[in-house]
Subunit: 67 residues, 6 copies
């Protein structure tokens, strides 16, 4: 299966914090920190935990550029 | 100035392709490719060109996780 | 592989229109029309064409509700 | 009034879960489950409850395609 | 009908530029410029033209804060 | 530093509400109310509080138009 989303960052989960509806997933990506805010349902569906090898996915239209 | 967006990746512009309204900015981040779809106006406002040192910015709510 | 994105609709591609940077992918989901605006690169990477069986993916934070 | 957002899915609310800031709205759309993460303020403003007939709205630029 | 999206700004269309797939809609809101990138299909569906009174809509999860 | 995001709205913070993961930042923008849903981490990183002069940032691809 291929995904249209252009940005696929192979990362490692460092921390998972769950709220009532949303959860924060902190990842390490080649020395940079990534943070994804996803639903708690997703965290449980993927059974996300520190140490997991994951891919952070970002659609090209969601990425800004600063210069 | 600080930005609430949690994901900031320091990258180098590799390619800029302009359409009528939208442009594609391809960047290199430590050997991985990033692609942002932004307006042509933004490309011209930032005067983006290959070789530019930039920061790719992504809001935490725009990042998915695959496992 | 599991995807954190909560909304996955199995659809059939009806039409693909390519611009210089962005492309429009029109799909049918049980008689309703779906429209995705993705990069031309993605269309070519997935080799999208009418008749293809695909899955439309939407993150929960990107969905509004009208009532 | 017309809305530029291209994807309008007529759905029925199945469940509403409120956190402190964000809420989850689970809907049924022609047999598929939809999940929207919206603010609690929105849930209260629309007075969303199970059984409500609603429209899930998604901008074309927010929809990915998997194949 | 109510919309869950929290940010609604009443604006006036100043300029519409169409590409093959995407269009740029420039608006004036009390002397400030707003820019929306929507599909050409939407521009035609709403028959958008300079002088139109419109509402710019943004979901709360799509808004960042700079300080 | 310049930001590709086209919509930069100079606003004043009116209220900040923190949940476990997400926070709501209510702002005044020329008499209209803006609401941003950002992470609690961002609120703390920017030390956001009522009365702060801030800029609300929205990418053009995240703005819809109603007419």
């Amino acid at each position: 299966m291929k995904i249209s989303g252009r940005n696929k960052l192979e990362a490692t989960v460092k921390e998972v914090v769950k709220g009532a509806v949303m959860a924060k997933v902190v990842m390490d990506y080649k020395g940079s920190e990534l943070v994804a805010a996803i639903t708690v349902d997703s965290v449980e569906d993927l059974n996300l935990a520190p140490g997991d090898k994951v891919t952070a996915l970002v659609k090209a239209t969601e990425m800004m550029v600063l210069k």
